[in-house]
């Protein structure tokens, strides 16, 4: 993804939802895109499939898949690409499954819709697919309707549909957010195993930093339509350099916390995309800003091996940031 920009044409001028995103992902890699609502994380993922809802448009940039540019693909090519190369798993499995069709039939349809398998092959693959995502008694349950499945099972069925065409890129948008923790744990395990078995590239979109720590090799942190920090998971968690990443990690209570420290909260709200502040987009909420942040937007610069941050200050230059942030 090179210099991608997504804009929405609304009354009052264009709103930039994604502004100049660059990143790469390899087979077998799991990359997490984290951010709060409105940060542009979902738009970034949808643009990979050219599925930006109206009136949004990709206004610049390239999305290279191998040698091909997704932005330039014809309608026929993009259909092929979506069906055979990429799979998307959404947050709410109930709204993504058709309530009046049997689950098995829907999985079969997903396979048959794209030319990789014949109807017969698709039919024969349904039960093994459901078994692969560990739906118990898959043979009996292919004839169930979505409402007969629990939330976790529906998500498994969605994953089965997604991976049935053996995609090389799997995009999971908040795949466990609607699920209970014990169910969430089993879906995480499933995604981990599948990424290994399929050797697919996985993009996990989430607001849950803990989930990222659990699954991802690399993390991209988004804020106000921009990447503010990216790098290997360990570096991001152990040594975050952007004040937003740093604060986000300290604003979450941890289940393993021993001493109850006061949570570091980020004051205020993310900016309205139609009325972006000048300079660094995070500066109105940043406790570490300097004068330059108010007028000049920092570039995404290298701060460590494979780690980039968009900040003039950087956390490593701040002495005792906890005390500073709690002031």
């Amino acid at each position: 993804m090179q210099d991608l920009r997504v804009q929405f044409d609304v009354s009052g001028g264009p709103i930039t939802a994604v502004d100049g995103i660059n990143f790469e992902i390899d087979r077998g890699e799991i990359v997490g895109i984290v951010g709060e609502s409105g940060s542009g994380k979902t738009m970034t993922a949808l643009s990979l499939l050219r599925l930006i809802p109206e009136p949004g448009k990709i206004t610049s940039g390239r999305i290279l898949y191998g040698e091909k540019d997704v932005v330039e693909m014809t309608d026929e090519e993009i259909r092929e690409f979506r069906g055979n190369e990429v799979a998307m798993i959404f947050q709410d499995p109930m709204t993504s499954l058709n309530p009046v069709l049997r689950v098995g039939f829907q999985v079969e349809e997903a396979m048959a819709a794209h030319s990789r398998f014949t109807r017969k092959q698709a039919h024969d693959r349904v039960v093994p697919m459901l078994q692969r995502v560990r739906i118990p008694a898959a043979k009996d349950r292919v004839r169930d309707y979505p409402h007969q499945f629990s939330g976790g099972m529906r998500q498994r069925a969605m994953i089965a549909m997604g991976v049935s065409n053996e995609p090389s890129l799997l995009i999971a948008d908040e795949p466990t957010t609607a699920l209970d923790v014990t169910v969430q744990a089993s879906i995480i395990e499933l995604l981990r195993d599948l990424s290994r078995e399929l050797r697919a590239a996985v993009i996990l979109i989430t607001h849950n930093m803990a989930l990222v720590a659990s699954l991802c090799n690399r993390v991209i942190v988004m804020y106000a339509g921009r990447i503010v920090e990216q790098g290997p998971t360990r570096a991001i968690f152990k040594n975050p350099q952007h004040p937003y990443t740093w604060s986000l990690l300290r604003s979450m209570p941890r289940v393993d916390e021993v001493e109850k420290e006061r949570l570091i909260s980020i004051k205020g709200l993310p900016p309205d995309l139609g009325r972006m502040p000048p300079g660094c987009k995070f500066h109105p909420r940043c406790k570490f800003r300097v004068d330059r942040c108010l007028t000049e937007e920092p570039p995404l610069g290298e701060v460590g091996p494979g780690q980039d941050a968009r900040c003039w200050v950087l956390m490593k230059n701040i002495e005792n940031p906890e005390a500073e942030a709690l002031k």
Binding site: E36, S37, P136, S150, G152, M153, D180, V181, T182, V183, Q184, A185, S186, I188, E189, H207, N208, M209, A210, L211, V212, A213, S214, T233, R234, F237, K238, S247, L248, L249, S251, M252, P253, R254, V255, D256, E257, V258, K260, R262, L263, I264, S265, I266, K267, L269, P270
Partner: protein, 341 residues
């Protein structure tokens, strides 16, 4: 087999470590009839015999997965819904029995904060009207005095008092939750039930609200029942935690000791399921995956309700229901094999 205690066991309502219980819930039951259907009398056992006590000034966290009955329990405690049977004592007043003027006076001191700040605020009312409504309803203050009180609580929860004439849609999710908190505070309550107060909010905003609730608690000496599915948030804010499964409390104890050593297998499973924002710890964490699905509360399993999914279940677990009793000082668990997973 565990040895039978010689004396009658100690239950959460007779917990000797709890100095001044403000709220005591005894054998509380809430059943909902469902459907007409062929059998007509199907019943959801949403809350099925709950005992617990909440000490004055503490935060008791109530965790459990969807459908375990935690929200219903909260609503029955504040009497938003009538109990099917059992008792809820607030100080010494039985909330399930009290009527008339005494109920009104007691109710002023008990308030609720809801999950969804979008749905729980009337969109046609200004913030000032929303926050002052309890004052009018209870005839506590009106006119200038009410206005002053509203401005005061708005300041307390971190809202600009000049916004009294704005409508809920003009506020962000976090600010709306502050409005909900202001409304709960305006009557100077003693006890607040907060049902998933932060789960609809973005991470950075959650911390603001959690900190606010902690500040308010120490400032006004509030007692909280904090209901949530997120174990990390509950652990952070609570002095003690109660874990609920299928209409029953399976474990209660101080949050730290539950973290260090969960007694009930279900608590242990929950603990192991929550990811931690630390890649090194995550690499080492091994979640205990439960078999099967949560059974229907219409037809919950006999004896121990967790036995159908429990990794250490024995024959006795499907025959004899383990009572919620004290296993160690201040720690209660309803399990024949507590602490063995």
């Amino acid at each position: 087999m565990t040895a039978q205690p010689a004396q009658p066991s100690i239950t959460p309502t007779s917990d000797p470590t709890l100095k001044t219980p403000l709220v005591r819930v005894e054998n509380l039951v809430k059943h909902f009839p469902v459907g007409g259907g062929l059998f007509g009398r199907a019943v959801v056992h949403a809350v099925d015999g709950v005992d617990l006590a909440i000490a004055a000034g503490e935060t008791l966290g109530l965790v459990g997965e969807s459908g375990c009955g935690k929200s219903t329990l909260g609503r029955v405690i504040v009497r938003l819904q009538p109990a099917t049977s059992g008792h809820v004592y607030f100080e010494d007043i039985d909330l399930t029995k009290v009527r008339g003027e005494k109920l009104r006076r007691t109710r002023q001191r008990i308030q609720m904060i809801f999950q969804d700040p979008y749905a729980s605020l009337n969109p046609r009312m200004t913030v000032g009207d929303i926050v002052s409504e309890p004052l009018r309803n209870f005839g506590v203050a009106k006119g200038r005095k009410a206005e002053q009180k509203v401005q005061e609580v708005m300041r307390v929860v971190g809202l600009n008092p000049n916004f009294v004439n704005r409508y809920p849609h003009e506020f962000s999710g976090g600010q709306r939750q502050r409005i909900g908190i202001a409304r709960a505070l305006v009557l100077n309550p003693t006890f607040i039930v907060a049902d998933e107060p932060v789960s609809a909010l973005d991470v950075s905003i959650q911390a603001q609200i959690v900190n606010l609730m902690e500040d308010l608690q120490s400032r006004f000496n509030l007692t909280f029942l904090f209901i949530a599915h997120d174990l990390s948030v509950v652990r952070h804010i609570s002095d003690r935690v109660a874990v609920m499964y299928l209409g029953k409390i399976v474990e209660i104890g101080p949050s730290d000791s539950i973290r260090d050593k969960p007694l009930h297998p279900y608590t242990k499973v929950l603990e192991s399921s929550v990811p931690v924002p630390d890649p090194d710890l995550e690499a080492a964490r091994k979640p205990i995956l439960l078999k099967g699905e949560i059974p229907s509360p219409v037809n919950p399993p006999q004896a121990c309700r967790f036995h159908t999914r429990c990794p250490i279940a024995q024959p006795i677990c499907s025959e004899v229901e383990p009572p919620l009793e004290m296993k160690e000082t201040g720690r209660f668990a309803a399990c024949h094999f507590a602490g063995q997973l």
